[in-house]
């Protein structure tokens, strides 16, 4: 509605409605974010005096022998963490969604149960899997023996070569419900006539899925990918719970979130450094923003042609 013309009084109600949201959002989200970005260009000395040092913190992060290996390591691990989600979590989510959307008995039960792990706290999930994989308890080992793979069991969480993939798969286990439900929503939205038309033309179930349904869920694939990306580059809780702030063994599970926490708060002998912490947060911000922008400009535009 247009504000009534001729009404002289200032629309106080507009301020009343908007002010609380704007104030809280600006003070507790936008301002701290901008302030964090600003702090990444400063250093603080013991007298708490801030000095502008330009990009020096970034140079330190990329080249200093204390920071650079940790930063590049965490970045690489984070991309592996993301790749495991994209290659395992999202295809399984799509598979389950396709099976659920085909109808059949027990659909509601499957749907409810498969989504359940997503609502639990990452902390709980982390501890549960730590116990299940614990060689002391031997649950995972007995399960593998049952299917004749007992000899393959290893303390995966403790080995540098397997810890990261194991932690990634635990996260996949928890969050498969999210792509599943998003793909499911897209799939049940596809008009039945379209699929029937394909069937009449002789397409079998498999062909009907890939040639008719899959192109129609591509926009959802984009949303799932960007949600996974943002979630993964912001992850922290699971690794902190299972492997502590040091993300062991030997930083094998260190990702951006744990590196940020450790740098900001310090660890063992190293003191916390808010400016270096802010620098890492700024890098996370850049990475996440690049992902979002690629999604908005490249993916979404290209995929639009497919939409109904």
């Amino acid at each position: 509605m247009q504000l009534k013309r001729g009404r002289k009084s200032f629309p106080t109600y507009l301020v009343v409605f908007l002010a609380p949201a704007l104030i809280i959002y600006t003070i507790f989200m936008v301002y701290p974010l901008l302030n964090s970005l600003r702090l990444s260009f400063y250093s603080i000395n013991d007298q708490k005096v801030e000095t502008f040092i330009g990009l020096q913190n970034y140079v330190t992060l990329f080249t200093n022998s204390n920071f650079a290996p940790r930063f590049w390591g965490a970045l690489k691990n984070n991309f592996i963490f993301f790749a495991v989600h994209m290659l395992v979590q999202n295809p399984i989510g799509l598979l389950l969604a396709a099976l659920l959307s085909a109808g059949g008995r027990g659909r509601r039960f499957y749907r409810t149960t498969l989504f359940m792990p997503t609502v639990l706290s990452v902390v709980i999930i982390g501890f549960i899997w730590q116990l299940i994989l614990n060689p002391l308890w031997g649950v995972a080992e007995s399960m593998m023996k049952l299917v004749g793979l007992g000899s393959l069991f290893k303390p995966w969480l403790g080995l540098t070569s397997t810890a990261l993939v194991t932690v990634s798969l635990i996260s996949v286990w928890q969050f498969t419900g999210i792509p599943m439900i998003l793909f499911y929503t897209a799939l049940i939205g596809i008009p039945e006539e379209l699929v029937e038309a394909g069937r009449v033309d002789g397409a079998n179930g498999w062909q009907a899925f890939w040639h008719i349904k899959f192109p129609l869920v591509l926009p959802t694939l984009g949303i799932v990918a960007i949600l996974t990306f943002v979630g993964n580059f912001n992850a922290f809780d699971l690794i902190y719970t299972m492997k502590g702030a040091l993300a062991g063994p030997d930083f094998a599970t260190d990702i951006m979130g744990t590196l940020f926490y450790r740098t900001f708060f310090g660890q063992q002998l190293q003191l916390g450094d808010p400016n270096m912490g802010a620098t890492i947060a700024a890098m996370m911000f850049l990475i996440i923003m690049s992902g979002v922008l690629i999604y908005l400009f490249a993916w979404q535009r290209r995929v639009q042609t497919y939409e109904l």
């Binding site: 409605f17 908007l18 507790f28 989200m29 974010l33 498969l114 031997g138």
Partner: protein, 297 residues
């Protein structure tokens, strides 16, 4: 529950008698989806069930027969006793409830007010404001942690529940406003105009509109609540004291201390899961329906 798809039924009643092989393939085709779904369902349930079942057993039984249900001989509540006597779970629990409920109610109220203004009035800068508020949908608030902690130190809010509530409101507002604005746009104009003609104030009209978007408020409420309840990051950084720890942080610290007391660990995990699982089982259909609402079959 829906029945099988029509095409399968058609094939079954095909007049020409299908060969045994064909029928076998058909059967496999019908069973395979169930087998896959059952496999993944079992995979999703198994770790949770293992924890809950073993939390009611004596220690030798936990290790000796991890897959067995507790019986008269192995049943024990010793883990629960430890948890209740040695920890401050009730405090953590209360903290989580206070933070979650207040953050949720305030988010919904403040978010609804802003959404109402954005959807109802066209004023200069409306679109820009909506855009400004929606930036936070994609940018995780955690990235501003250095700034948030500084601010809370300055405001003297470190180790208070208020700090958590404020951050969670700020975190939840962007998506809440984005979704609610769209729902509020759909409220029929006539209703509001009629009320205006009757001399209702704009606040009164807001009061009329809010009940009409109740389903959206419910859905947003559920999805706002779960990440707040489960969050570890901000309790760890802004309010780690034992008086202000939330249940998620409390469990994390408790488990760190009692790592070798398996009874206590299993019991505390079960206790920590319980509230959210009960909540989920009550609201799961509503939750899933609210996501899939866009595409009704």
């Amino acid at each position: 529950m829906t029945t099988d798809t029509p095409s399968v039924t058609n094939a079954m009643t095909n007049p020409t008698r299908p060969s045994a092989l064909y029928r076998l393939r058909l059967l496999a085709g019908r069973l395979a989806p169930h087998l896959i779904l059952i496999f993944f369902t079992a995979l999703a349930l198994f770790p949770i069930v293992m924890i809950v079942v073993n939390s009611f057993k004596k220690k030798p039984a936990i290790f000796g027969h991890p897959f067995a249900l507790p019986n008269a001989e192995t049943f024990s509540l010793i883990g629960y006793n430890t948890v209740f006597s040695r920890s401050t779970f009730p405090t953590y629990f209360l903290n989580s409830i206070i933070v979650t409920v207040l953050a949720l109610l305030l988010t919904l109220l403040i978010g609804a007010m802003a959404s109402f203004a954005l959807s109802e009035y066209s004023f200069k800068g409306n679109t820009l404001l909506a855009l400004y508020l929606s930036i936070g949908i994609m940018i995780p608030i955690r990235l501003g942690t250095v700034g948030i902690l500084r601010l809370m130190v300055k405001l003297g809010l470190v180790n208070t529940l208020v700090a958590l509530i404020l951050v969670y409101i700020a975190q939840a507002l962007p998506l809440t406003i984005f979704i609610l604005t769209q729902f509020m746009r759909q409220v029929p104009r006539d209703l509001k105009e009629a009320a205006r003609l009757d001399g209702a104030s704009e606040y009164r009209i807001f009061g009329l509109v809010v009940p009409l978007v109740r389903p959206a408020l419910g859905a947003i409420g559920i999805f706002t609540m779960i990440p707040i309840w489960n969050d570890l990051w901000f309790p760890l950084i802004l309010a780690p004291s034992s008086k202000t720890a939330t249940i998620t942080l409390g469990v994390q610290q408790f488990l760190g201390q009692f790592v070798s007391d398996w009874n206590a660990v299993l019991s505390s995990l079960t206790l920590a899961m319980l509230p959210i699982l009960i909540f989920y089982l009550i609201f799961s259909q509503q939750m899933i329906r609210s996501i899939t609402a866009g595409s009704v079959k």
